[in-house]
Every structure is written in structure tokens, then in C-alpha cells.
């Protein structure tokens, strides 16, 4: 059992690198897009709000796998040629963006209305309220669930192996294909994913405790 694991380790490390790359790309792009669209959802004009709502609900209403296949097979069909890697990142990013939009919406809408009113009462303009009152509180409500959500990106990245992208999951299956020792490899893989995600999850919980003073 242990020998199989040790043998596999270097190959898995290469795969892990791809997993990390995919995750980091997904998380960073979705953060920017999601925050922008999320603000559009909360503060924008009605047409924009409906559009973002539609986008978010649709993406979150289908399995990630279907989204990945749709992007991977669908885009070339309409003439956009994608390397598997980028198709995967695109699909995962779309998925995470929808999540980020929800986190943002939740963060901003959970701030009691009285905060906005107190800001108005001392004469702050909309922009001043946004920067001094809303944003600091929204940030503290956004970060813990968002960090926890990064684990979804990491777990979702395992699906890119189905497109032939040589991530951690793919490497595991590759090695198994050669050695036929499935269980030790899967356990090792589970361990690696666990370490990454559990750390993130703990961080998220620590932050949530630290920021709990804003939950009046």
C-alpha cells in the first residue's frame, strides 16, 4: 500500500500543480467578475438585475459537469476553438462567478437597513455610505463564506480530468492505469485534496469568528 503511494507521489505532484493552477485562475477571475456582477445585482437598474439573476440562477441550477461538457463541446461547435484546459477554466469560472454573486448579494443584503439610514442621517452621500459604511461590513460578511467556497473550486477542478486535463485527479487515474493499485492511490489523492480544502475551511471559520462582532 505505502509503496504504491510513494511511487505515485512525484506524478501526483505534477498533477497537483495543474489543479492549483486551475483553481487559482478560477477563483481570481470569478472574484472580479462576480463582485462586479454582484454589485450590478444589488445596485443596478432593473434590466441588469434581471439579467444577472437569470445568469446566476441558470448556472447554479445545472450540475457543474454539464456546464463543463457544454462549454467544452459547445464552443467549438459555434466556431470558438478552445484548448481543453481553457474550456475547463471557463466553465469552472462561470460556476464560481454565480456563487460569488450570491455571496456578495447575501453579504450586502444582510446588513441591517438601519446602517444605511444612520449613514444618511449624518449626511453621507451614496458613494460615501458605500465606502465607509456598507463596504467594510459587507467585506467582513463576504470573506468567510467565500473562502469556504474556494473549496468548491478545488473540488470542481477534479472534473477537468474528464476532459483530459492532466490535473491531480487525472494523474491518479493515470498511475492506476499503470499499476492497477486503485485504493492506495485514491486514498492518497483524497488526503491531498483534504489537506488543501480543510485548511481553507479552517481559515474561513477562524475569520468568521473574528468578524462576528459585525453580526449585531
Amino acid at each position: 500500500m505505502l509503496d504504491a503511494m510513494i511511487y505515485a507521489l512525484p506524478f501526483l505532484m505534477k498533477g497537483l500543480w495543474v489543479t492549483v493552477l486551475v483553481s487559482v485562475l478560477t477563483v481570481s477571475i470569478s472574484l472580479c467578475a462576480g463582485v462586479l456582477l454582484g454589485c450590478g445585482l444589488v445596485y443596478g437598474p432593473l434590466p441588469l438585475r434581471l439579467l444577472v439573476r437569470l445568469f446566476s440562477d441558470t448556472i447554479r441550477g445545472i450540475p457543474i459537469l454539464v456546464l463543463i461538457f457544454f462549454v467544452y463541446y459547445g464552443f467549438p461547435a459555434i466556431g470558438v476553438d478552445f484548448a481543453a484546459f481553457w474550456a475547463a477554466v471557463t466553465a469552472l469560472t462561470l460556476f464560481k462567478t454565480a456563487q460569488v454573486i450570491e455571496y456578495l448579494r447575501g453579504a450586502v443584503q444582510s446588513i441591517p437597513k438601519g446602517q444605511t439610514e444612520a449613514g444618511m442621517a449624518i449626511g453621507l452621500t451614496f458613494r460615501e455610505r458605500l465606502t465607509s459604511v456598507i463596504f467594510p461590513q459587507a467585506l467582513r460578511r463576504f470573506l468567510p463564506p467565500w473562502i469556504n467556497g474556494v473549496t468548491d473550486a478545488v473540488k470542481g477542478s477534479a472534473l477537468v480530468s474528464l476532459l483530459g486535463v492532466t490535473d491531480l485527479m487525472h494523474s491518479i487515474n493515470q498511475v492506476i492505469g499503470r499499476t492497477y493499485e486503485a485504493l492506495p492511490l485514491y486514498i492518497l489523492g483524497a488526503l491531498i485534496y483534504f489537506v488543501i480544502n480543510y485548511t481553507l475551511s479552517l481559515l474561513s471559520r477562524r475569520l468568521e469568528r473574528r468578524f462576528s462582532f459585525t453580526q449585531a
Partner: protein, 223 residues
């Protein structure tokens, strides 16, 4: 652009889609049923157990929640038979995996539900002279169920979407059906459009039905 939508091919093979959808629903229902049993049992054990029990349960929960589902599916289907003398089909293997997966999430749901029961209710039960078992059956369980219903609904809908992972071990559910049409007829966009539409539609129907259920069993009644 030059891609002409041709849905006729999809309709010819609609049995794969429809059959797949039904199987997905079956898988989800089975898994949540078993998951509820696991989750409830462990939640009760957690609340009344000692540190060792709580630690074991936490390990189970954290492991399942931090590992990709696809890896768990592979592990159960390909890995386990290598060490344990067990032989099962892909579908059974997937149900086992998804049930264990569901159980991990539901432990948290039920634990939160149990802890959310106002202490006053239990005191009232004691004051009435109910035995611990009676208190459990008539006070804690019904209250916890009503409190947990929204989270349970959300978990069920999530599970329904997670059944798509079964396609990787060739369980003929909805996603597998779409893949089949894709690979055998090259009608890529149509196949996935239909699959997307079915997931969305079913999701909304489920959501609607579950909200109805929640409303029927709601804890607060607004004036």
C-alpha cells in the same frame, strides 16, 4: 458560425434523456433517504456522545466534505473491490457513495436543527412528565424536522445535481444520456441544451414542491 440546430435527432433518442432523468431522480431519492438515516443517527450520537464519538463523526464529515465527489465515486467503485470481497454494479456503487456523501452533509443539518430547538420546549416536556423517549418522539424530533426542512430541501436539490457525476462510471442517468447523444450523433449543442433545460426545469419543480412542503410545516405563523 455554420451550426444548424437539429433537434430531431435528440427527440429520436429522447428515451435516453427521459430515462436518464428518472434515474437521476431515483438516485437522488435513494441517497437522501439513506443519508437521512445516517445523518440523523450520527447527529443524535453527536449530541449525546462523548469526545471520541464526536471526534469520529467530525472526521467523517470533514473528510467527505473536503474531497471531490468524483474521487469518492472512483474510490468506492474501483478501489474498494480490490480490498474487500465485494462486487456491485455501477449504480449500486454510486448510491452507496452518494448516500455516504449525503449523510455527511445531513449530520450538520440535523445537528444544527437539534441545537436550534428552544430549550424551553424541552423543559415544557419535562414539566408535563414526559419520559426522555416521549420527549424525543413528540417534542424534539418533530420540532427539529420542521426547523431543518429548508436545509434538507436545499441538500436534496444539490444531490439531484450531484447525480450527474454518476455518468463517469457509466450509470445511465441524465448527463450520461446527453453524453451518449453527443458522442453518437454529434448533436452536441442540442444534447446539452436539452439536458440543461431538464435539470433547470426539474430543479424548479422540485424547489416549488419543497417550498410547498416547507410552508405546510413551517415553524412560524406570521400574523
Amino acid at each position: 458560425m455554420g451550426y444548424d440546430l437539429n433537434f430531431a435527432v435528440v427527440w429520436r433518442n429522447f428515451d435516453k434523456i427521459w430515462g436518464g432523468l428518472l434515474l437521476s431522480l431515483e438516485l437522488a431519492v435513494l441517497s437522501i433517504a439513506i443519508g437521512i438515516v445516517i445523518g440523523l443517527a450520527l447527529a443524535l450520537a453527536h449530541v449525546s456522545g462523548g469526545r471520541l464519538v464526536r471526534g469520529l463523526i467530525a472526521t467523517y464529515v470533514e473528510t467527505i466534505r473536503n474531497v471531490p465527489l468524483i474521487l469518492l465515486v472512483y474510490l468506492v467503485f474501483y478501489g474498494l473491490p480490490q480490498v474487500v470481497d465485494i462486487r456491485y454494479g455501477a449504480t449500486t456503487s454510486f448510491v452507496v457513495t452518494l448516500s455516504v456523501y449525503a449523510g455527511a452533509y445531513l449530520v450538520e443539518v440535523f445537528r444544527a436543527g437539534l441545537e436550534a430547538i428552544p430549550g424551553g420546549l424541552i423543559d415544557a416536556g419535562r414539566a408535563l412528565g414526559l419520559t426522555p423517549w416521549q420527549r424525543f418522539a413528540h417534542v424534539r424530533l418533530p420540532t427539529m424536522t420542521r426547523i431543518s426542512l429548508p436545509a434538507l430541501s436545499n441538500t436534496f436539490i444539490s444531490l439531484f445535481k450531484d447525480t450527474s457525476i454518476a455518468s463517469v462510471i457509466a450509470v445511465p442517468e441524465l448527463t450520461w444520456g446527453a453524453q451518449w447523444i453527443n458522442l453518437n450523433t454529434f448533436r452536441i449543442v442540442e444534447a446539452y441544451l436539452i439536458a440543461t433545460a431538464m435539470y433547470l426545469f426539474t430543479g424548479y419543480v422540485l424547489l416549488f414542491l419543497l417550498r410547498l412542503l416547507e410552508w405546510r410545516f413551517r415553524v412560524t405563523r406570521n400574523a
